[in-house]
C-alpha cells in the first residue's frame, strides 16, 4: 500500500512536470508593449469624445453668459442716473450710450402725394383755407427781410395819446345816490 502510494505520488510529480513544461510558453517580447498601445488607443477615443463634449458645453456656456450680459445691459439703459442720491456712490457706472443711428429708409426721388388721414371733403376745406391764408399773409422771406431792416433803423419815438374814459351816466347817478 505504501509502495502504491509512493508510485502514485511519483507519477503525480511526473505529470506535474509534464504539465508545467507544456504550459511554460512565453508570450512574444513585444506583447506587453502591444497591450500598452492597445489600451492607450482605447483610452484616447472616449477622451476625445469628452473633449468634444466639453467644447460644446463651453460654447453653450459662453453663449448663455453673453446673452445674460446683453439682457442686463439692455435693462440698465433704462436706469435713470438722476435717481442716484447725492454723496452716494452708484452701484455701477452706466456707460454713456452713443445715440443709436438707425438706417432711414431710402427716400424716393419724386415727392409722392402725402398720405391723407382726413376725409376728402375736409381735406378740400383745409386746402382752400391754406390757399386763402397764403394770399393775405406776407411771404416769410419778405417778412424776414423787413425784420432785418427794422433792426438796422434807429428806434422811433411812439406818441400815444392818453386814453380818456367818460364816466357813464348811470354809474354817476349810482355814485351820487340818486337812483332809487
Amino acid at each position: 500500500m505504501p509502495e502504491h502510494g509512493h508510485e502514485n505520488s511519483m507519477s503525480d510529480e511526473l505529470l506535474d512536470r509534464e504539465l508545467a513544461a507544456l504550459l511554460s510558453v512565453e508570450p512574444s517580447p513585444a506583447f506587453v508593449a502591444r497591450v500598452r498601445v492597445h489600451v492607450a488607443s482605447q483610452e484616447r477615443t472616449p477622451v476625445s469624445w469628452l473633449n468634444a463634449r466639453g467644447l460644446a458645453l463651453a460654447v453653450v456656456l459662453v453663449v448663455a453668459v453673453g446673452a445674460a450680459v446683453a439682457i442686463r445691459t439692455g435693462q440698465s439703459r433704462y436706469v435713470d442716473s438722476s435717481q442716484a442720491r447725492a454723496g452716494e456712490q452708484p452701484a455701477f457706472v452706466i456707460p454713456q450710450q452713443t445715440p443709436r443711428v438707425t438706417a432711414l429708409p431710402a427716400q424716393p426721388s419724386a415727392h409722392p402725394a402725402p398720405e391723407v388721414l382726413i376725409s376728402p371733403s375736409e381735406s378740400r376745406v383745409v386746402e382752400r383755407l391754406l390757399t386763402a391764408a397764403r394770399g393775405t399773409v406776407v411771404a416769410p422771406d419778405a417778412h424776414s427781410f423787413e425784420a432785418t431792416d427794422a433792426t438796422l433803423l434807429p428806434p422811433m419815438p411812439i406818441d400815444i395819446a392818453p386814453i380818456r374814459l367818460e364816466p357813464l351816466a348811470a354809474v354817476a347817478e349810482i355814485e351820487s345816490g340818486v337812483v332809487q
Binding site: S11, D12, L15, D16, E18, L19, A20, L22, L23, V25, E26, P27, S28, F31, V32, R34, V35, R36, H38, V39, Q42, E43
Partner: protein, 184 residues
C-alpha cells in the same frame, strides 16, 4: 526658478496618473499568467496574445474596481479563460465548417514529434471545466494550492480535491490514449 517649477510639476502626480502606473505594474506582473491561461485553452500563440490583450483592455476600463492585486489577478484569469473558451468555440465552429466544406480532416502527421504533448492536451481537454481550470492554474508558474484558491475565489480544500480528481482523470485518460496509439 524654472528648474524648481519643473521639478515640482514632475513630483505632482494626478490620481489618474497614479492609476495608470498601478495598471502598468499589474500588466507587467500578470501578462505572462494571462497569456498562459489563454494558451492553455487555445494552443495558438497569436490567438492567446489577442485574447489576453482584449482582457487587459477590459481590465483597464474597470481598473478602479480592480485595484486590489488579488482581485485583479482573479478577475483577469476568469476573464481570459472565458474569452479564450468563446474564441475556441467560434474557431472550432469555423474549422468544422471549413473541413466539412473541403472534405478534409486533420492530418495525423501533425502529431509527429509532439505526440506526447498532443496526448496531454487531449487529456486536458477531456476534463470537466472546473477540474481543468484548477490543474492548468496549478501548473502555471508553480502556483500552489493557496494561490489557485485566491485566483479562483474558492476554498483551498476545494482546490485540493479538484486537483486530486484532475490528476486521476488525466492519468487514466493518458493511459487510454497511450494504449490507443500503441495499437494503431
Amino acid at each position: 526658478m524654472h528648474e524648481w517649477t519643473g521639478r515640482l510639476a514632475a513630483d505632482v502626480v494626478t490620481p489618474d496618473e497614479e492609476l495608470e502606473r498601478e495598471f502598468d505594474a499589474r500588466l507587467v506582473e500578470s501578462s505572462r499568467l494571462a497569456f498562459r491561461v489563454a494558451y492553455s485553452v487555445l494552443r495558438q500563440r497569436e490567438d492567446a496574445e489577442d485574447v489576453a490583450q482584449d482582457a487587459f483592455a477590459r481590465a483597464h476600463r474597470r481598473f478602479r474596481q480592480l485595484r486590489d492585486p488579488d482581485r485583479f489577478c482573479g478577475w483577469l484569469v476568469k476573464m481570459v479563460w472565458r474569452m479564450a473558451l468563446d474564441r475556441r468555440r467560434s474557431a472550432h465552429r469555423r474549422a468544422t465548417r471549413e473541413a466539412a466544406h473541403q472534405g478534409l480532416r486533420a492530418s495525423t502527421a501533425e502529431r509527429g514529434g509532439e505526440e506526447r504533448s498532443q496526448l496531454l492536451w487531449e487529456a486536458i481537454d477531456a476534463l470537466p471545466e472546473k477540474l481543468r481550470s484548477v490543474i492548468v492554474l496549478a501548473s502555471i508558474e508553480g502556483h500552489d494550492v493557496a494561490a489557485v484558491a485566491r485566483l479562483l475565489g474558492i476554498p483551498e480544500g476545494t482546490v485540493k480535491s479538484r486537483l486530486f480528481l484532475a490528476r486521476q482523470q488525466l492519468k487514466e485518460r493518458l493511459q487510454c490514449l497511450n494504449t490507443d496509439t500503441k495499437t494503431r
